[in-house]
């Protein structure tokens, strides 16, 4: 009764709200967008999700698919869970945003009061002269590229050289290239033991470096070689026909090569004028609202998140915070400053997991580490701890995919 009376008073005070419930559109149904759509729906907001693809393929655990340890179908998630809850899902490409309307590829428009965008990344293979992504797959979006790289490894003769590259910061999944190198090295060690793997890096330091190096020294001595920037790790050009990868210091002939190009926010973010000169999207760290276009919020890989890495875990955490902020703003309230958690697990071989964690809060207009929290797994930990973390990685995957896709 009392609630009814209060609601009545609110409606009298805000006649505009009484006429139409505010509409929120979410673009992108990945870890960020799908989580945001569900969280908004649970907060009572009317949501429409726009996603180009009929099903989603998860990048987390896709390195295991490349190494033959897992099948692609375990990576696939549909949108029936969202539909069943009553969320409208439109499988169409969003082309741009004009005023308060999303313009779809076929010209149809979707009006919104607030928009949430989680378009992920765009890849820039043109930045590496000669790069042909069919000859040297990046597999940095799960899909045909993932399976192509796996087939190339399977077809390779024992004794071949596999060349991988890791880009400069920032890019999607900071520990991803090193997990990939580890799992491919495991494949070579067990299936093609005369082969070698060279990891060319455009950096001199990387995520969980000491833990990866500890594992490589124990598991893959003489098999996996990491070449840092200062030793000529930057790929400057490739010759796809000859399978040559040229660096600042020399060249490598590859039996199989996976070159990960530099990246930027998804194209729609650029089309809608949400990126700055870095190619990524500046946002307010409390509301995740664009600093360039009010009313549009951004989450996930596309944003400049300060200390927070571009991970599925981070996209999911940002989505939940952003949904609360959007709901608060629609009620005319100020969003509360958040704290967010990230944890990234990597596998270095089956049953051997390592992690890096962080807790973040807004500071000086960005997301900053909460001092004293976070860090990596312990060096020199016993095998039982590594096995426990490998198990927790799988628990995490089940939890996050259920949270995003229902």
């Amino acid at each position: 009764m009392r609630r009814r009376a209060l609601l009545g008073a609110a409606l009298l005070a805000a006649p505009a709200l009484a006429q139409a419930a505010p509409k929120v559109v979410v673009i992108g149904g990945g870890f960020g967008g799908a989580t945001a759509a569900r969280a908004l729906h649970h907060l009572g907001v009317s949501v429409t999700l726009v996603e180009r693809e009929a099903t989603y393929l998860s990048c987390p655990f896709s390195n295991a698919v490349i190494a033959g340890l897992r099948e692609m179908e375990a990576q696939r998630f549909g949108y029936e869970g969202l539909r069943r809850e009553g969320i409208a899902v439109i499988h169409r490409e969003a082309r741009t945003v004009e005023g308060r309307q999303v313009v779809l590829a076929d010209g149809a428009t979707l009006p919104f009061d607030r928009l949430v965008m989680a378009p992920g990344i765009s890849l820039r293979p043109d930045a590496i002269p000669g790069l042909d992504t069919e000859a040297m797959p990046h597999a940095w979006r799960a899909g045909p590229q993932t399976l192509l790289l796996r087939r190339q490894l399977e077809a390779m003769e024992d004794g071949g050289v596999v060349v991988l590259s890791a880009p400069a910061n920032p890019y999607r999944c900071p520990p991803g290239p090193y997990e990939r190198a580890s799992l491919i090295a495991h494949y070579l060690k067990t299936q093609k033991p005369r082969s070698k793997l060279i990891l060319l890096d455009e950096k001199d330091a990387f995520s969980k470096q000491k833990l990866f190096e500890e594992a490589w020294a124990a598991l893959y001595p003489g098999l996996l070689e990491w070449v840092p920037l200062s030793a000529g790790g930057k790929v400057v050009e490739v010759d796809a026909a000859e399978q040559l990868v040229r660096t600042e210091f020399g060249e490598h002939r590859a039996a199989v090569a996976s070159i990960i190009p530099p990246q930027a926010a998804g194209r729609i973010a650029q089309a809608a004028g949400l990126t700055d000169r870095s190619g990524w999207c500046p946002v307010d760290p409390v509301s995740f609202e664009s600093r360039q276009r009010p009313g549009i919020h951004l989450i996930g890989d596309a944003i400049i998140a300060g200390a927070m890495p571009k991970s599925a875990f981070a996209a999911n955490a940002q989505a939940r915070v952003c949904a609360e902020a959007v709901a608060a703003l629609l009620r005319g309230e100020a969003p509360a400053p958040p704290k967010l958690i990230n944890t990234c697990y990597s596998l270095v071989e089956p049953g051997y997991g390592i992690s890096i964690a962080g807790v973040y809060q807004p500071a000086n207009g960005l997301l900053a580490d909460v001092p004293g929290a976070g860090g990596t797994s312990a060096l020199g930990a016993p095998a039982a701890v590594r096995a426990a973390e490998a198990g927790y990685a799988e628990d995490w995957f089940r939890t996050i995919t259920a949270d995003a896709f229902g």
Binding site: I341, A357, V370, A373, G374, V385, D395
Partner: protein, 52 residues
């Protein structure tokens, strides 16, 4: 791993405070717990306890 949702808030708070104080031998919860104040931990525990 057993789900936390629905467990008593006091138990969740107690475990988090112990992790934060460096007790037990967690793989990751100490690193996470150190990022929160006792007040925040109580609020999270109440929320987790109340969720399905």
């Amino acid at each position: 791993m057993p789900a936390l949702a629905g467990q008593p808030a006091e138990a969740i708070t107690g475990a988090m405070l112990a992790y934060r104080a460096g007790q037990g031998s967690p793989t990751v919860m100490d690193r996470i717990a150190r990022g929160f104040t006792e007040e925040e931990i109580r609020a999270i525990a109440a929320w987790v306890s109340a969720s399905r």
